[in-house]
Structures are given as structure tokens and as C-alpha cells.
């Protein structure tokens, strides 16, 4: 949350940008840079690409700044542009068949099975944590771009359905339906990759 003075200052910068004054954009970039890095990294997950993408996002944002109408916060508006851009990026990467698909290593798989069998999922050791992280990034990588954006916002960033709706400019009910579908696809993917042995019932009461 930013203070009243900061908000007034920010509105001034934005209005100047809307009149085409590029210099007024620099302080906005400084203020929101790390927020945009965060959004982009959570969705795209490629360290070597993030900075370039963030630059493109800010250029897009400046080009479109006249469409900002002060209804939502500037950060929300920027996030929307960033996510749209990530979505395009992921689609492009997919279309050019540069998918970074990798199989889980033997060791990772073993650790995952050990994790699945451990009584208390809270107390994971370093290898098990690496294994579940590997699993999660694999299934995200395999997900369709639109799913990936939603899942990153919900499952990683922990945003509510309402917040996601505001960021993506969608009705919460729409977000809910899409998230449900995305999770269903994810569930199938995750079960096929995790190869958790059917056996010990997960829902059984534990000591």
C-alpha cells in the first residue's frame, strides 16, 4: 500500500506519461520494477528470460498508458499487461516447439515416492523438497499457457479468485470456472508424473 502523498505523486507521473513525457515514466519503473519481475518470474520461470520480458512489459505499458483510467491500482493494471505479455510469450515458445520438457531423474522420482509415503508431509528433507519442487515446475511447464498464468497466481502467489479477477479483468465466477478446469488438467498430469503407488489410502486418519 502506498501513502496518500505517494499516490498523488504517482498520479502526476502517470498523467505526464499520458501526455507523452517519457521522463515521467522512469520513477514509475523504479517503483514497480520488482513487482513486475515477481509476476513475470512466477509465470515464466526462466531466469535468463525474465529481464528481457520485463523490459518489454514496461515498453508496452508506456505505449498503452493512455488507456489507464485510474479505476484499478497502477500495479494491478501493470500486472495485467505483464500477464498478457507472459501469456503471449508462452504461446510463442510453445508454437516454436522450444519446450523445455524434462523427465524427472531417477533420484527425484525416488525422493518423491519417499515423500508420498512419509507420514507427515510437513517435515520434508532437502531432497524431498527438491523433488516436489521439480514435480510442480514440471506440471506447470506442461500446462497450457492460460492455465499456467492462473495456476501461478493462485497456487504459487496465493491470490484469491477475486484478486485474480481484478488483475485479469475477468469476473470472479469466470476465474473460478477456469481455475477448476485448469486444476483438473493439472491433477491428471500430476498423477501421471508423480507415479504415486496406489496402496496406502491418503485419506485414512493418521496418528
Amino acid at each position: 500500500m502506498i501513502s496518500k502523498e505517494e499516490a498523488a505523486q504517482e498520479a502526476g507521473w502517470i498523467e505526464r506519461c499520458q501526455r507523452g513525457e517519457q521522463e515521467a515514466f522512469a520513477p514509475l519503473v523504479e517503483r514497480y520494477r520488482s513487482a513486475v519481475f515477481r509476476v513475470v518470474y512466477r509465470v515464466v520461470r526462466r531466469r535468463d528470460e525474465v529481464e528481457d520480458i520485463v523490459q518489454e512489459v514496461f515498453i508496452k505499458a508506456f505505449t498503452a498508458i493512455r488507456s489507464y483510467n485510474f479505476q484499478s491500482s497502477f500495479q494491478t493494471w501493470l500486472s495485467r499487461i505483464a500477464l498478457n505479455h507472459c501469456y503471449d510469450y508462452l504461446r510463442r515458445v510453445r508454437a516454436s516447439h522450444v519446450t523445455y520438457f524434462w523427465q524427472m531423474s531417477e533420484e527425484g522420482q525416488r525422493n518423491l515416492e519417499a515423500t508420498a509415503e512419509s507420514r507427515e508431509p510437513g517435515g520434508l528433507n532437502a531432497e524431498q523438497r527438491a523433488a516436489v519442487r521439480e514435480l510442480a515446475s514440471q506440471v506447470l511447464e506442461a500446462a497450457p499457457p492460460a492455465d499456467r498464468v492462473l495456476l501461478a497466481l493462485k497456487e504459487i502467489e496465493g491470490h484469491s479468485v477475486e484478486e485474480i479477477g481484478e488483475i485479469l479483468d475477468l469476473k470472479p465466477s469466470t476465474v473460478k470456472v477456469r481455475l477448476h478446469r485448469a486444476r483438473k488438467r493439472l491433477l491428471k498430469e500430476v498423477s501421471s508424473r508423480a507415479r504415486v503407488r496406489p496402496g496406502e489410502p491418503a485419506g485414512a486418519p493418521r496418528p
Binding site: R45, L83, A116, A136, A194, V196, P201
Partner: protein, 159 residues
């Protein structure tokens, strides 16, 4: 409770939901699925704690330079020009191409219209044009799937 109903409940997000406990205790397949889901959720928590990369030194000046290079003339006029100008150039090119085709047609006999093979040759370029204008021209990238038509490509089938 049926397995597909369990999947619906799992997709609501909670692998420990009360109403599926009984089913999970009896159904190994759903239990495995619920457990895989819990593993994935643990993985998402791991991803959330991953440090986010930071901007390298000189990020903002570099961006401002790019901005200055990319937006002459002023941004609003540029996007307007892009929108109208590019389409104008392409349609002029198409017209020129058509004129050439008409000229290339043998003089003997009545002037025929391009046959279907020629049309088929021309259509892909039209399709990519439309595609491009749908994808790139609007500044905001407002092609985020809004309604139920999620990622249907704008120019798919030709007829």
C-alpha cells in the same frame, strides 16, 4: 461417491476435503491422485519461496533508451499509424499483386478471374496478415481469452 465426483472436489483445491475422506480410504486410484495433488501443492509452496531475480544494474536507463528509440513519433500517433499504416501498406501490396496477376493473364480470350488454385496460393498470406494484426497491433494485448473462446486462433480454417 463416484471417482469423477472426487476429481471435481479435488479440483476445488483441497485434497483433504471432508466429503471425500471415506472414498479415498477405499479407492486406491483416487487416493493416489489426492496424494499426488498434495505433493504438487507442497511443490508450489517451494516455488513460492524461491527468490525472484532482480533487475540488473542499469535496468531503468536501458529501458528509457529503448523507449526513446522505439517511440518516435509520440506513442499515441505511432500506435495509430501502426494500425492504419500497416494495413494500408499491406492492402496496397495485395492490390498491386492482384493487378499484376490480371496483367499476367493471357490476352487471348475473355479476362478470367483468378482460378481456385491461385486463390489458394494467396489465402495463406492473407491469413497471416489477419493473425498479425489481431496479435500485435493493440497496445494492451487485450487478446487474453475473455469469454469461452479460449485460445481459438483467429484465422484457422479458410472456408
Amino acid at each position: 461417491m463416484r471417482c469423477d465426483h472426487v476429481l471435481e472436489i479435488l479440483a476445488e483445491g483441497d485434497p483433504r476435503a471432508r466429503e471425500i475422506k471415506e472414498h479415498l480410504a477405499q479407492c486406491p486410484a483416487c487416493a493416489a491422485r489426492a496424494r499426488a495433488w498434495r505433493l504438487a501443492q507442497a511443490g508450489f509452496r517451494e516455488l513460492a519461496s524461491e527468490p525472484v531475480p532482480e533487475a540488473s544494474v542499469g535496468f531503468t536507463p536501458r529501458l528509457m533508451r529503448r523507449l526513446a528509440e522505439s517511440s518516435r513519433p509520440a506513442p499515441a500517433e505511432q500506435s495509430f499509424f501502426e494500425k492504419v499504416g500497416r494495413r494500408f501498406v499491406y492492402s496496397t501490396l495485395m492490390l498491386a499483386l492482384l493487378a499484376l496477376l490480371a496483367l499476367a493473364v493471357p490476352r487471348s480470350g475473355p479476362l478470367r478471374s483468378p482460378n481456385s488454385a491461385e486463390l489458394m496460393l494467396m489465402q495463406p498470406s492473407v491469413a497471416t496478415l489477419q493473425d498479425e494484426s489481431v496479435l500485435n497491433v493493440d497496445g494492451l494485448g487485450s487478446h487474453w481469452p475473455h469469454n469461452s473462446t479460449v485460445t481459438a486462433p483467429a484465422a484457422g480454417g479458410q472456408r
